[in-house]
């Protein structure tokens, strides 16, 4: 048998190693393992079981089929397609021979502590592709190098006279060897002392070319399982009735009618664990109905007679909170919670003001409204827990299971099927805590399902915000000063984050126009509320881009200027500006996306166009985005006629996937800006279904989104929410041109109809 030497590692960087693992059974496996150098070598791997031992790996079988593991959860962001393609390209694999499998959580026991053997595993935060770019390519490169050496040995010629193409090694003399025929030999080749060089961009075969979603066939045939579709033998279905107030208590309950429903097994009470941060424990006190099937559980829940008693939050309302924000911002003596940035001297600049402009923008609370509601399947055995979790962060799901079960790290299995939307909601794992608590108490596996009503009514919402801006303009019509104040309830509160960092979920110190003006001040005022908050798609850019890019339009209007010219003047010459986060703002790239959308929508017609044209630009973690929107009013109806979006993300891994993300984020942002708001009164969320939280349907949305992607060769950035921030301000700016109504409050439709 060949491949007796089954295990070898090559150092990548601190604590990360490329590892070759071959069973000598016609297979070559390579993975990235996060490990200590002192770790004992893995035992000879056996096919099938190695999935859990190896990191984001590539496996080549003797029939030349290639299996690639996808480590980050795919919530619709396309990472299950893009990440494997990064590996496959470096390997020169034939994509038609590649299968992708979604990896569960990779966790091993390191003296009682979890050891994340796949490294980072997190989806929907815009970081999957940048991280993969720095490590996954190396796994593919190593596999290709080993196959080349094996072919060189077989053919008796130096490796530099061989090349790889679509799963085949080809010699200068035309002889060809399939990868499959080389795997046994390749697994006996000693690893190089240094990493083999990565491909140069001119040799990319897959990166930069369009690829459809790897799960597409399973999805269109209804075969792809989401967590909500998982069954586990004798699992009980649990549905919940949460207390309307997170700090409320159960006053009275009558379960007789519920227990009389055939199939209902038990009614149980759930209580948040004191001292646990938001997102780690039950979101609010709840009563759970456990039944043999979903229909019985739902009927049982409907027959519950519960009286909840409100806690201190029972007097809260979103309207009062907004009034509090307005009062704070209006009080010039009120010290900010955090002075986020203070360049130059806005007060001194104010003395030189020829004109001033002040405006305030009001944005509502928002829910996540994932298509797949919160759910979780948990089976607990004496020395083992198995959970199927729709999560963006399986390591955090693991931590909740571990805390509640006390099991050792590797005794906990977290499976992550495709996830029906994340948008930040699934970075929190309250629903995992609920399922584990119930499974523990009832002694049977539990399949937890939140109804839509629970899902909208009990979320870690995005806080509403008030922005108050003032601009100082000199006699030469230049903006020389900018003073902005924002009030919101931090998404990081009640999560163990120190007070002086709470602002970081609400705004960026280097968001536009910071760095472009000599005098710039940005203050943040904290609001507090018992209504839970958490990460949300596009946070913190969404609300800030709407306010800022609307305000720039208002400056243009005041100066009787074309708003594109105002922006070009504000941005100035192409140059590199250092950002507080360590990166740089490439003004040239920002100007470029802005001009691209302007050209495409024929901005030269801005003044005389009957419909309204609006534009906006923004930058997000080294990526650049601009939107241009053409809209018209037909009576009280708003028609979005054209939407153009240009993005610059550096190197594009999958153009089709990127276009989908950009178009999708644009539509999501438009739907949100047009229609959506969460409100609360007496501490209770008012929205309970799609009727009250009306995502935009086909008719309300544009028929097409024209996506322009800027080709580039810089390392790729993430794009899952890049196109969110600028869609709404470009729309509001277009609406202003079309209707002469400046919308400073979202949701837009309600406000527009009020002002028309």
């Amino acid at each position: 048998m060949s491949g007796h030497r089954v295990n070898d590692t090559i150092r990548l960087e601190r604590r990360r190693f490329l590892q070759v693992l071959a069973a000598g059974a016609g297979v070559l496996m390579i993975g990235i393992r996060v490990a200590d150098a002192a770790d004992p070598p893995l035992p000879p791997a056996l096919l099938g079981d190695t999935f859990h031992d190896l990191g984001a790996y590539v496996r080549i079988d003797s029939d030349s089929n290639v299996l690639i593991g996808a480590r980050d959860p795919d919530t619709g962001t396309g990472v299950a397609t893009a990440l494997p393609r990064i590996i496959a390209d470096e390997l020169d694999a034939d994509w038609n021979q590649v299968s992708v499998i979604q990896l569960g959580l990779g966790v091993a026991d390191d003296k009682g502590q979890p050891h994340w053997i796949y490294g980072r595993q997190i989806g929907g935060t815009g970081s999957s592709i940048p991280a993969a770019w720095s490590d996954l390519r190396q796994a593919g490169a190593l596999a290709r190098w080993l196959l080349l050496q094996a072919a060189a040995r077989r053919l008796g010629m130096p490796a530099d006279q061989l090349r790889c193409d679509a799963g085949t090694v080809i010699a200068l003399d035309g002889r060809r060897l399939s990868y499959g025929s080389l795997v046994d030999d390749a697994s006996t080749i000693a690893l190089p002392r240094r990493l083999p060089p990565l491909k140069t961009a001119d040799r990319y075969q897959l990166i930069g070319r369009p690829a459809g979603d790897v799960d597409a066939h399973g999805i269109v045939t209804g075969q792809t399982h989401f967590a909500i579709d998982e069954q586990d033998g004798d699992a009980l279905v649990a549905v919940l009735a949460h207390c309307p107030w997170p700090d409320g208590t159960l006053e009275r309950i009558d379960t007789a009618d519920t227990l009389a429903v055939q199939g209902v097994v038990k009614v149980m009470q759930l209580t948040p664990e004191p001292g646990q941060p938001w997102g780690s424990t039950v979101i609010a006190p709840a009563v759970a109905v456990l039944a043999e099937d979903t229909w019985s559980a739902l009927q049982g829940r409907q027959k519950l007679k519960i009286e909840w008693k409100p806690g201190a939050s029972g007097s809260e309302s979103s309207a009062a909170l907004e009034q509090r924000a307005v009062a704070l911002l209006a009080d010039s003596a009120a010290a900010p919670t955090t002075r986020v940035r203070n360049d130059g001297d806005v007060e001194a600049a104010g003395k030189k003001a020829a004109r001033r402009l002040q405006a305030s923008y009001f944005q509502p609370w928002l829910a996540h409204a994932t298509a797949e509601p919160m759910n979780c399947l948990v089976r607990l055995d004496k020395d083992r827990a198995r959970a199927v979790v729709p999560t963006q962060a399986p390591q955090k799901a693991w931590a909740v299971v571990q805390r509640l079960t006390g099991l050792a790290p590797a005794q906990i299995e977290i499976r992550v099927p495709r996830v029906g939307g994340g948008y930040g909601r699934r970075l929190d794992h309250d629903f995992v805590a609920e399922a584990v608590m119930l499974a523990k108490a009832v002694g049977r596996p539990v399949r937890l399902l939140w109804t839509r009503e629970e899902d909208l009514g009990h979320d870690y919402y995005r806080s509403g915000s008030v922005h108050q801006f003032s601009a100082i303009i000199d006699r030469k019509r230049r903006v020389i000063g900018w003073n902005q104040r924002m009030a919101s309830a931090s998404a990081l509160a009640h999560r163990g984050v120190p007070d002086n960092r709470l602002w970081t979920s609400e705004l960026r110190s280097d968001q536009l126009p910071a760095g472009l003006l000599p005098n710039f001040r940005s203050d943040w005022y904290a609001l507090d509320s018992a209504i839970p908050r958490g990460p949300a798609r596009g946070m913190p850019h969404l609300s800030n881009a709407f306010a800022t890019e609307s305000f720039i339009d208002e400056i243009a209007h005041l100066l009787k200027e074309n708003p594109l010219d105002t922006r070009l003047r504000l941005l100035g010459e192409p140059r590199q500006l250092p950002l507080g986060s360590g990166g740089t703002l490439d003004v040239g790239r920002l100007l470029n996306v802005l001009k691209l959308v302007a050209d495409r929508i024929e901005w030269k017609n801005w003044l005389r166009s009957v419909s309204g044209l609006g534009i906006a630009c923004w930058h997000v973690d080294g990526a650049y985005v601009a939107h241009a929107v053409e809209a018209a009013m037909q009576g009280e109806q708003l028609i979005i006629q054209r939407v153009v979006c240009a993005v610059d993300v550096g190197r594009v891994v999958n153009p089709l996937g990127l276009e989908g993300q950009v178009a999708g984020a644009t539509l999501d942002a438009l739907s949100t800006a047009l229609n959506l708001a969460i409100t609360f009164k007496g501490g209770q969320i008012q929205q309970r279904g799609y009727k009250d939280y009306p995502l935009a349907g086909m008719a309300q949305l544009p028929d097409a989104v024209e996506v322009i992607t800027v080709p580039g060769d810089r390392p790729p950035t993430g794009a899952s929410f890049l196109a969110m921030p600028t869609a709404a301000p470009a729309l509001a700016n277009a609406v202003f041109r079309a209707s002469a109504v400046r919308v400073r409050r979202l949701p837009l439709m309600r406000e527009l109809l009020r002002l028309l």
């Binding site: 597409a216 999805i219 989401f226 043999e292 099937d293 996937g657 178009a663 086909m698 949305l701």
Partner: protein, 178 residues
Amino acid sequence: MAPVQAQVLPISPDSGIVPVEARNGIDLEINGEHYRHTGDPQMPLLWYLRDVLQLTGTKYGDAHGENGADLVLLDGKAVSAITLPVAKLAGRQVTTVEGLAADDGTLHPLQQAFIDEDAIGCGYCTPGWLIAAAGLLRRKKQPGDDDIDQLPNLCRCGCQTRVRRAIKRVAAGKAVQP
């Protein structure tokens, strides 16, 4: 283990075995297969599909079927499965997303078009879109934008523009390819 509420009795048409008629079941035809439901006649079709038959392609969206994730074809018309009690299904034909493709696995033109246009976000609401579009194309072979605008489905991932392209691709006869 506690008793299950509903029971499935698949009946092969050419089988010589005649089921005993002792139970007052409801005969169902789903994706061309015959079943008899003997549990609660008020059970919504959605839960019968998902919990009993384990046909999980049809998704739960909300209690009223407002986001279209739970659509099925009932005698060719797209209807919400969560508002449809099994009792109303006797003698009617139900097609779910699992039944759209031909028996030999050949995809329905819409399924192929959704793949070709990559009309998929997270994929959770995709079966509902497919059923809604299939219902529309049965009513109208050449639907216009206004017809497509009437589809009831909601999607936060923003797959609407790609779904529109996929439906138009089928209407234009471009999707008939392997």
